[in-house]
Amino acid sequence: MANKQKTTRILIAGFGGQGVLFVGKFLAYVGMAEDRQVSWLPSYGPEMRGGTANCSVILSDDPIGSPIVDAPDVLIAMNLPSFQKYQDAVVPGGAIVLDSSLINEAYARKDITYFALPATQMATDEQLDGLGNMILLGKFLEACLPTSGELIQKALAKVVPAKKEHLLAANQKAIALGRAHQG
């Protein structure tokens, strides 16, 4: 997975409020900064208010056809229902980045790679409450989508609104934690 593919289809899924769409937006900006084609498609409707939310992101060197990610190269699973729902959808040879603080279930597949880290717990330990999503994102970037620190800064600057600039450092720290995580 470490080499960059021509097209990467990413599905990010979790509870509404976990920052699913935010992670998706960040990835879209990474793609844009690299001059790649990108698409970002959220699930929408009442399920977004407290239910499960998901977001399809495609980064590609070619024009993107359907923006819907039914068979992700990588699933970023932020909660158990998402893990259960989408584990089987991941393409053979693909990967799942998951929050083992919230997902404590046996891995069913031998043909994909699991990158597990207790992101929610790590966030709490580091006083980064609510940034478990960014820790998972860091892990994803390290394991599945090699991205330079400079690019990460660039995308973060785009995705964190100007009036929330004070959150930049915390987000950076969370991503760094995820990138540094061993296991």
Binding site: V38, S39, W40, P42, G45, I64, G65, S66, K158
Partner: protein, 353 residues
């Protein structure tokens, strides 16, 4: 080139409308298009424009009617159930030959239906949407960039032909984000001597009406209007042709299903199947000539739609049923997958192997 920005399809429509010189927006909240209203609510007061949340979709389209009669660019947006309510106003706009831009970000129906994407308002849009003989120019964007560019185009066509232009999108294109360039040429200004600007005591009064009690007069107006529609049909058809040069199977799809179909066509080509795609960008006027021409070359057509089979009728009409047309569809808010379309292509290809 201006830097691309990441935007939702709905937001791209709103910003493009502003760039196209629209300063009046009237709407009523309904999923999945509310971002358009929200964007307008934020932007219009800062640029001296008008955003007004109307008491109903009916009121909104009639406010549009008023602004358009005053000679200014104006728009409203809604989703399927709300467009039904606007049907009356659409008919009056047509009957009074007033330009306007109306956006339908379709959701599943009928009735209250659902909120997930759909293309089931094809008949309603391409056949006018309200009572009486008339057409709207119907534009079907398949990307966020086209949400912007076709909005600009829609305003221009509306003014040029004194018609309503409808952006017929769906929940997916409305909700998705893609990089979009909002570089827009300065809008062309059309003379509107018919507009209600006040006589300034310098001319006879203008009257905007769709009422003509003399049947002879009303017939004449209808015929004149359709002569104008013929010109639109001759000059304004837009479609994209993808891998059609040597195609034996022609997939026809618009909007989000065209994107799904493109994946399927690419996958089928990789398997050696000679298949191409015609993507209507204008649904009215429909690319009849392109399809009639394709019918002389291909063995069969597939109509990929998120409806129980609406566009398929236009394909059959355009090709005079010369070649079989198979419907490939999902409905109710479900979206066909590339695999579903690929399998239909394979089936079509296998038929004569």
């Amino acid at each position: 080139m201006a830097e691309k920005v990441l935007m939702k399809g709905n937001e791209a429509i709103a910003e493009a409308a502003i760039q196209a010189g629209c300063r009046h927006y009237f709407g009523y909240p309904i999923t999945p298009q509310t971002e358009i209203a929200a964007y307008m609510a934020k932007r219009m007061p800062k640029i001296g424009g008008v955003f007004l949340q109307a008491e109903s979709e009916i009121a909104a389209i009639n406010m549009v009617y008023g602004v358009s009669a005053a000679g200014k660019r104006v728009m409203t947006s809604s989703s399927s159930p709300g467009i039904s309510l606007k049907g009356e106003g659409l008919s009056y706009l047509a009957g009074s030959d007033l330009p306007a831009l109306v956006v339908n970000v379709q959701r599943g129906g009928p009735g209250l239906g659902g909120i997930q994407p759909s293309q089931a308002d094809y008949f309603q849009a391409t056949r006018g949407g309200g009572h009486g003989d008339y057409h709207m120019i119907v534009l079907a964007p398949a990307s966020v960039q086209e949400m912007a560019s076709l909005t600009v185009k829609g305003f221009d066509l509306a003014d040029k032909y004194r018609m309503t232009a409808m952006i017929l999108a769906d929940g997916t294109i409305g909700q998705m984000m893609e990089p979009v360039s909002l570089e827009v040429e300065p809008p062309k200004v059309y003379e509107k001597p018919w507009a209600l600007t006040g006589t300034k005591m310098a001319r006879k009064h203008n009257i905007v009406t769709s009422l003509f009690l003399q049947p002879e007069a009303l017939e004449k107006l209808n015929i004149e209007r359709y002569a104008r529609y013929r010109i639109v049909e001759e000059n304004e058809v837009m479609y994209e042709s993808f891998q059609m040069e040597d195609a034996e199977i022609c997939v026809v799809a618009y909007g989000i299903t065209a994107r799904v179909s493109k994946n399927a066509v690419t996958a089928a080509r990789a398997k050696g199947i000679r298949v191409g795609l015609i993507r209507p960008i204008t649904l009215w006027p429909f690319p009849k000539a392109a399809l009639a021409e394709a019918a002389t070359r291909v063995k069969s057509f597939l109509s990929v739609e998120m409806s129980m089979g609406q566009m398929i009728e236009d394909i059959e009409l355009a090709t005079r049923c010369k070649k079989p047309v198979t419907l490939v569809n999902r409905v109710g808010g479900m979206i066909p997958t590339p695999e579903q379309v690929l399998s239909a292509i394979e089936q079509a290809a296998g038929g004569d192997r």
